[in-house]
Subunit: 288 residues, 2 copies
């Protein structure tokens, strides 16, 4: 497994792979089972798999947890090696942003609600760094987890609009036994918060049951249901609870024959967790 | 010579060229000697050369000349064939913008003056369409004329910031015998306008002589000199005359040991012409 820190070395290694299918999993490191599922899928589908580990300052706001974001490169590299990843790209900030960068990639509409509304500039930072990484790795396929459903929507829209020669592969959210979505940030939850955090997935799936039976019909009823449930946990502080059409991320009144997305962001202390649940009009897989 | 109209066919042709150096000349067609010089340089330096012809609506403002922009595809194709271009990409608007495009590429600072200030959204349109074309053609080298000096600066900055795997090759402005910069829009000048339009290049080169002798020293003096000269032509209506540092496009007071850019945009009737002149502190080639 090659461990590469510079763009020049990455390009050099990439140049040799002209006849192979290139898979790419961009991450901020501190790998968990969610990342591992992406890497294993890439490994199955592609000839040469690149993992990047880069905590991207451009997608953090001034009062967010950039410096606190958990890091453990040695452990990440051991995981990558065990899976059989071909190349790990671990650039420093000065390698990714060598001078003041004047260029931004902006995606409208799908960025205007949920985390996009709560974290101004966040998705410009995501779209810009993913563009840079795509230009360095030039992947045929890139893998993203549906826990970050809005990120998947933004990247998919960007790739379509800008005609990137890359296929975006969305992959299902991986959860703990009690339903909590795997996240690098979970490590910052204390024991009581960890127990109370199960309310996110629990309340979202309860809404689906009640929508399917007709007990909940409007977006407002769905949001109220989830909000009340989460508020029942004293350490939970809601950032947002939203019900939108999917994949257009538009508001709706009554549920009518379309797929909808329920999405939440909740603080436990300084730790901000997100989760979501898709309700498919025609049933079927819940993650594509 | 292959003539291709769809992105899918272009990708198919591009896929076969894995071991060749790909040269790319993106244009809006109505080819003149400026374009021809780019194509010939690409032909000399690359194994496989792609010309694109696309009048990009995204870079025209609502009151600009998108519909009037001159077009002659048959003549363009004959020129390309004579030069020995390998592939001409002539997509329709619906091929380049199949649905509402929500993504824009924005470059700050270098877009804030000159044409960027006068044509809001113009360079977002340029940066976005060039990104799309680069993702389709995936060129090793792309050729741009220095008549559009701000476009060269914007694309160069974008390619650096976003780490495109493409080298930008700036090429000198090609001129008529009397100094008028070649432009597709020159065809709209009547005989009197055509004669008066020579004042652009004439006044800009006169400034250089006067700067080198010390007769003109401040940006303000240079701008005034060019403005007065152009105003001496009764059919000329100035859009802007600016003197900036190069390549940062910043204002300056006194000329001090740095390269400077003199740039003008002038209307003759509805026809808007641009031209520029670089004054190199250390002399040398005037176009790189």
């Amino acid at each position: 497994m090659k461990i590469i820190k510079s763009v020049a070395d990455l390009r050099h290694e990439r140049m040799k792979q002209t006849h192979k299918t290139i898979g790419f999993v961009p991450t901020m490191g501190y790998l968990h089972e969610g990342h591992i599922s992406l890497l294993e899928k890439a490994k199955m589908e592609c000839d040469w798999v690149v993992l990047s580990i880069f905590v991207n300052p451009l997608q953090f706001g001034p009062n967010e947890d950039f410096t606190l974001y958990p890091r453990d490169e040695a452990r990440d590299l051991a995981i990558a090696k065990k899976i059989g990843i071909d190349l790990v790209f671990v650039p420093g900030v000065e390698e990714m942003y060598p001078e003041e960068s004047l260029t931004r990639v902006n995606v409208r509409q799908v960025t205007e609600r949920l985390c996009g509304a709560k974290r101004p500039g966040h998705f410009d930072g995501v779209a810009t760094v993913v563009t840079k990484l795509f230009h360095m790795v030039q992947p045929d396929r890139a893998y993203f987890g549906m826990k970050d459903v809005q990120q998947v929507a933004v990247i998919t829209q960007m790739v379509k609009d800008l005609h990137f020669p890359t296929t975006i592969v969305p992959c299902p959210t991986i959860r703990e036994a009690d339903g909590l979505a795997k996240s690098s940030r979970n490590v910052y939850l204390n024991q009581v918060e960890r127990v109370q955090a199960t309310i996110l997935h629990q309340s979202l799936t309860e809404v689906e049951q009640r929508v399917q039976t007709g007990a909940l019909q409007t977006a407002s009823e769905m949001v109220t249901y989830v909000t009340e449930k989460i508020k029942s946990q004293p350490l939970a502080h809601i950032d947002y609870v939203e019900a939108l059409t999917y994949p257009r991320f538009e508001t709706f009144d009554q549920w009518e024959q379309e797929d909808i997305l329920l999405a939440v962001a909740v603080f436990f202390g300084r730790t901000r967790l997100i989760d979501n649940h898709l309700i498919r009009f025609k049933g079927g897989e819940t993650y594509v």
